[in-house]
Amino acid sequence: MSKRFDYLDNLEAQAIHVLREVAGQFERPALLFSGGKDSITLVRLAEKAFRPGKFPFPLVHIDTGHNFPEVLEFRDRLANQLGEKLIIRKVEDTIQRQGLQDGTGKYPTRNALQANTLLETIEEFEFDACIGGARRDEEKARAKERIFSIRDEFGAWDPKRQRPELWDIYNGAIRKGENVRVFPISNWTELDVWNYIRREQIELPNIYFSHSRDCVVTPGGQLLAITEHIRLDPEDEITVRDVRFRTVGDATCTAAVESLATTVDDIIQDILTTKISERGATRLDDRLSEAAMEDRKKNGYF
């Protein structure tokens, strides 16, 4: 009877199964929530998995201090509507406390520093599992990661020591100090997420849709929103463009794409015709080297 069940139903079923396994296997899980479309999708899936009960985990936001204000407003409103607990921990505070070097240069990213704050937060609340919205189609190192990904006490991912993951049986058993990162939408692509958002009529922060914005053109030809966090030099080319964001991370390393897409349908059309991958279009941090993501993951990054 799976014919009544279309592919989005299948992806949804797998994700709900994974979320319920987290609830069943762990004592202190958390859902990492950035206000981006992937974590908003996770929230919808959690509602389907656990309502009318409460979520068996709080939402946790690791705030880089470089977020778009629209996304933060959206985050607070959604947590409020859900009636679920929201924990916020700031990268700023970690930098102070640990005496870390803040991002420097023209576009001072705090993307890698997020890992430090995440690890501190895991320690503070003794989280044994952190649910995240990462997808395998995003990047080559992610393509190799399990749905239940065991991290050592430094948060490090060891690709050679991953547990085999069989059928839909998930092994979340860990030793003290270890924790698990769980990726329920591992098998979704960017297009799948958008199709699901359309089907479920999920509300998103408005920066995902076309709007007029002051941007600076980077030497690589990408458009970066002008915020207080980047340094503008006299020779910079400043321009007003109709843009939208495909991902909404750290504003210093998340580029905008030119687009007139004002609805979810428009965006799906955009994606179907576009020829640049999601991270390729928007992430300055992955350009550093072929193994940039692999290295960050080994250092505790998502």
Partner: protein, 413 residues
């Protein structure tokens, strides 16, 4: 549109990664920037050709050594289907990764190098495909360009493989002559092998019928999590959340809760907070029962009118051993069967199967990548079906009690 999950298996240089690269490339699933990176990386290669294998070899160690060390998942769509590829390494010591990829696969592509024909690794990969109960099998005879697209070579290999398939009771096998490197019969029909009249590889992947989750399967459900809001307006709400493993349930069905054995009636079925009359595998649901019974995570609910599952503490099963530490009689492990976790002790190693000759031999202990039939005794009874009958209720894993590593995949008899 639906989803086909498939796995590719072959020896080290059979061109698996190139085949996947070719599928992604010819079906236009590779975006411009990734292609650009590919061109940049390929420039360091001696022949300067576009190296499609770089699309899947994600980790630095793999690129440096030119091998694939772990299962990589890749995705692409055609208008007919969404495809999920598990790229399983052919390297001898990583067989456990093929088992991992195979556990969720609807179809396996076994690659054979046309120059070498059926080799030792082909036996191993086919045994795993058979053991893991993958419903559909395709043998892709690759590198046909290097044997002059010779028809006789292809048919000789197909005949050799048929002998192997008979030994393993592999039912449906399709043979396709391809060159992943050139692109023959992968997405585009080959102009070099007009003697081949069957479908291209992609055409087959798009049309092969997925016959799992048949409604005539026995209804099986296992509790993952109990939803108890304990709020004023939902004071008595007690819902059993889980995934329907197979078959379907209807409101009002007489059901049995196992392993306890208590019978009751299905009072309500909820899907995303909506009450429904019936629900099917693999839907996630919340079930409500007429009677107040003590039920917890890992308990099973089955329909009374269906054939009943086995309920036993003595288990006979095939296992694939996945740990560097050997398995011995008397060893204790944690056994996880979907949401149920019990302690288990190894009572007997009945025989080990030679993965190349399929000969069954007695064995004292099991080493990494061994495939064997064993008998286990568990602390509490397990509720299960034979794996060959029901992949969703017949598979289990063993977990080392100290390291908590997953050390075996088990297929129950």
């Amino acid at each position: 549109m639906n989803i086909l999950k498939f796995i590719t298996a072959g020896s080290v240089d059979d061109g698996k990664s190139t085949l996947i690269g070719r599928l992604l490339y010819d079906s236009k699933a590779v975006s411009h920037d990734i292609l650009h990176t590919l061109e940049r990386q390929s420039r360091n290669k001696p022949d300067g050709e576009l190296d499609l294998s770089l699309l899947t070899d994600g980790l630095r160690a793999e690129r440096e050594q030119g091998i694939t060390i772990d299962v990589a998942y890749k995705y692409f769509n055609t208008p007919r289907r969404k495809f999920i590829i598990a790229d399983a390494p052919g390297h001898v010591q990583y067989t456990r990764n093929m088992v991992t990829g195979a556990s969720n696969a609807d179809l396996a592509i076994i690659l054979i190098d046309a120059r070498h024909g059926v080799v030792e690794q082909t036996h191993r990969h086919s045994l795993i495909a058979s053991l893991m109960g993958i419903p559909h099998l395709v043998v892709a005879v690759n590198k046909m360009d290097l044997v002059g697209y010779d028809e006789q070579t292809f048919y000789r290999i197909a005949a050799d493989y048929q002998k192997l398939a008979q030994k393993l009771d592999l039912q449906e096998v399709l043979f396709v002559p391809i060159s992943a490197y050139v692109g023959d019969n992968v997405v585009e029909r080959s102009q070099n092998m007009t003697w081949y009249e069957g479908p291209t590889l992609l055409a087959h992947l798009e049309t092969v019928e997925l016959s799992h989750d048949l409604p005539e399967d026995e209804a099986r459900f296992q509790v993952q999590y109990v939803i108890r809001p304990r709020t004023d307006d939902l004071h008595d709400y007690r819902g059993y959340a889980g995934t329907i493993r197979s078959g379907f349930f209807k409101k009002g069905d007489r059901v049995r809760v196992l392993p306890g054995g208590i019978e009751t009636t299905l009072k309500a079925i909820e899907v995303h907070q909506q009450e429904v009359e019936e629900a099917y595998a693999p839907q996630p649901v919340v079930l409500h029962l007429e009677d107040d019974i003590d039920i917890s995570r890992g308990d099973s609910i089955v329909r009374l009118e269906d054939a009943q599952p086995a309920v036993s503490q003595d288990l006979d099963l095939e296992i694939c051993w996945m740990s560097e530490r050997p398995l011995q009689v008397g060893d204790r492990y944690l056994l996880r069967h979907n949401a149920a976790t019990v302690k288990a002790i190894v009572k007997e190693i009945r025989h080990r199967t030679d993965v190349h000759t399929f000969v069954q031999q007695p064995a004292e202990g099991l080493a990494l990548n061994d495939i064997a039939q064993v008998r286990l005794r568990t602390a509490q009874p397990l509720v299960f079906d034979a794996y060959k009958k029901n992949r969703a209720t017949g598979g289990l894993i063993l977990i080392n009690e100290n390291t908590f590593d997953t050390v075996a995949a088990g297929m129950l008899h």
